[in-house]
Symmetry: D2
Subunit: 281 residues, 4 copies
């Protein structure tokens, strides 16, 4: 007969003795003490930038100063992209219903699907498949050309390339420049550069310019820093979170509730174009 | 008669002429140019820390160096709190189902409800209600005592006070110390300090210690920096995001799928307790 | 000294003996047996409609046939409301990013905020505050008038009244007609009817018609059926889920990815207006 | 020069003339009229069960009475599976933080990942790959055996087979029995039955029983009814929603907030085992 009664406490307790305990290596908590990867969190505060601390938590060790600077720049790069991305519109549509800010943000994050943010992970895999060829004996440029030809044959743009708005993504250029200056360029950056050259050479066949975009630059740099594929995407997600917050907040304070949000019908009325003051450069 | 046919294009186009356009002040996009609050994002990269850039996006202006350091510390403070918070468990339960990392993170964010993270906003409102009394003529200490008595009469702990684990929250202490050193203490910090003293004085009646916690410290400091209530919560959310990511990632790489996650049955097997090297202090 | 080492297994096992077990009254599982509220689920299949089973799970007992019919109608009432509600737009914006269907649905659900769906709960509370007055000695009509005057004084429409599009909500009318025919009208329906009359009498002062809407009708009927406030909202949520699914699916199969979704720029190209065949009436 | 000023209204209006309008075939809205797939929603209310209406909305036409009965049974089948599934635990962990019911539900839905619910879609694809072989000339049984051998060679269980708890899933058995009685069995049901036989024949090699589970039965039946892959998953999601709601609600009303939820430490204290009354069979 099927048994729906609850086992007596003795039997249950015994059952637990054999139960598998599980393990975590991130943070240990004790009364009045929080150790992140072994370091007291209150000792990290004021001494590490947030980007440094993100690296420590995700990778297990303190970043070098160069890596810390690089990661700060990566996180700044995708801070916001205006009102038209689907993630921003998902967040604003939840905001107009009067939902709490966190709900708007969660909805925005759900829109970081394969075509929007997911490109970081796809590009990391793409670059690694090229590097596998290199380990098999081809040159970086040959590998890039074979990958590009494979994509074009299937009518695809390689992940990390092309942009709806930009013909030259200023964020990608700046990230590569910093990686060079900080001596953090590695094989993934070299592979994406080679892919860029291969695409340039097919420019006429393509009928359009397909520049490396910010997702591609983040992918190459995160891969060179040793991030796992899904953590590459996670870095994009951290970067984008403040933008989701800013748009949800602006929707709540500047707009009437339950409006129909048309992404094309907006005007910018913020600060005029300006430059950083000398002291901040 | 009800009209379900679609209006002809001419009529619709005219209808749009009168339509209200909407406004945004955050980011303007043009081909090959992204201006965040007026600044080219590629000029911000490498020059602002991520925390600085978050402040710029949310508040509209560059932070002073002191505010930038303070906000970095605030963001580091809540980076992670181990495996037991409901937000972490929500993220891990989604991860065990094989869902993408972003889904785990979104579920975790949804758990930042009134009892978990929402305290930052509640505490900001609590402090402002005290400051309203002060503007009406009471002293800060009198206001704090009246607020505390109101809470205790209803069997409530003031928002931003008390902790499940810690009798003295090391993160709160460090945040207040930094606010003092950076000369960023304002009326909200003074009000929360007075509240702490009022609670200490009622220590025997309460039968337990009710220290200010990290949410309270973030609330007081964000309020002194001028953040809106929901942005105070948002700062907590940004701070906590890497922890959600780290736990979801660890669940995916270290555990079998579809397991039953017991928050009490875990062991820490990460780095031993350690201190920052001299050069990082 | 702070203790970060893990307690030995013996100590932990003992600690668990005292641990509080928790209780659930919904479903019990044993090998090859699933009992929902005591009934084998496989016995319910084919014998209860889904709406009946929802009632059983949420309320604990089988519904009468009349309640089953009523609940089926309530669930059908809010099935879909076209492309313009924020919940639908949130779901479609997530869909355009290439995210899985479940992510689109989750984002849509997050948009059932206070102004969109949340009205069911607000209206249930509103009606109960009127019924409290009635228990205190006023007539239903007097209570309704006092409530309406309170709302209008604060420039508010009572929850469950008014609609962006409809001056007479056909779903509300049908729900009330069915409640009458099925002899399920109770004090909450009487209170909302009285509120409707009170608003009609203030029609000129209001300068517009403020009819009871489908949220109001669901609220009154769910309250008469004995649903808790948050379960009233939940009924709306179940009702609306297929609409979110249908829109996310249509977005995925009929539209290009990463498009900018303008809620005003759409045409309906589905089935022409039609009536149920005789046999289905 | 980069152009960040807003285009003048004339230019924008013209730009819209050429803009592509988009199309939807689900629901058309006009003042006081809501047509779902052409039918007035108020005419559907009271005449269609919710399951019938779900079929109409997703598939575009009214279901036959047999399909309506089948779909009601499918929706009842996965109503709830107790406290241990990750989706339920995600919902309860969000509930314990004090978040609104809809947030709990959204988090639960996010846990319907590849290993939990996603199996419906995987199984539909699996069955169709078998039917492709059949169209190429093999028998159904040969196709099933080749598919099973492919899975076992990779150490996989075929999607829709096996269960953590049940060695014979009572829900699957009931669904197949109903499909037979309602004369709705089609080629997908035949293919899954053949797969079951193929697995039975390899029972000794497998060392365990791998029965068809409820996901497999839903997959085969939904495929025979003509549902698209992602809509098969969606049917599971609709079925499971009331369970998520019931658990989130129970957590809110029966448990203290911010508790650590251990899925193993619970007791069932609901209704004793019972049978449907004669009149309901």
């Amino acid at each position: 007969m099927t048994e729906h009664t609850t086992a007596p406490p003795e039997r249950r307790k015994q059952a637990r003795v054999a139960s598998d305990r599980w393990r975590t290596a991130l943070t240990s908590i004790a009364p009045n003490s929080i150790l992140i990867r072994g370091y007291p969190v209150d000792e990290l505060m004021g001494r590490l930038s947030f980007a440094d601390a993100v690296y420590l938590l995700l990778m297990g060790e303190l970043p070098s100063p160069a890596i810390g600077r690089m990661l700060n720049a990566v996180l700044v790069s995708s801070l916001d992209h205006g009102v038209t991305p689907p993630s921003t519109l998902a967040a604003r549509n939840v905001a107009t219903s009067g939902a709490p800010l966190k709900d708007c943000v969660a909805a925005g994050i759900l829109a970081f699907g394969p075509h929007h943010g997911g490109d970081v992970e796809s590009c990391m895999r793409f670059l690694d498949s090229g590097l596998t060829m290199v380990r098999g004996g081809t040159t970086v440029q040959q590998a890039a050309e074979m990958l590009v030809d494979d994509c074009l044959r299937e009518g695809q743009t390689p992940p990390g390339f092309g942009h709806r708005f930009h013909t030259r993504d200023p964020r990608a250029a700046r990230l590569f420049q910093m990686a060079l200056e900080l001596e953090l360029e590695g094989e993934h950056v070299r592979m994406i550069r080679a892919t860029e050259r291969a695409l340039d050479a097919r420019h006429e066949a393509l009928g359009r310019n397909v520049p490396v975009n910010v997702d591609g630059a983040i992918a190459a740099i995160c891969a060179d820093l040793g991030f796992a594929y899904d953590l590459g995407n996670a870095i994009f997600l951290i970067s984008r979170l403040p933008g989701l917050i800013a748009h949800a907040h602006e929707e709540r304070v500047r707009q009437a509730p339950m409006r129909q949000i048309d992404p094309k019908d907006h005007d910018y009325d913020g600060s005029a174009s300006r430059r950083l003051p000398e002291g901040r450069k």
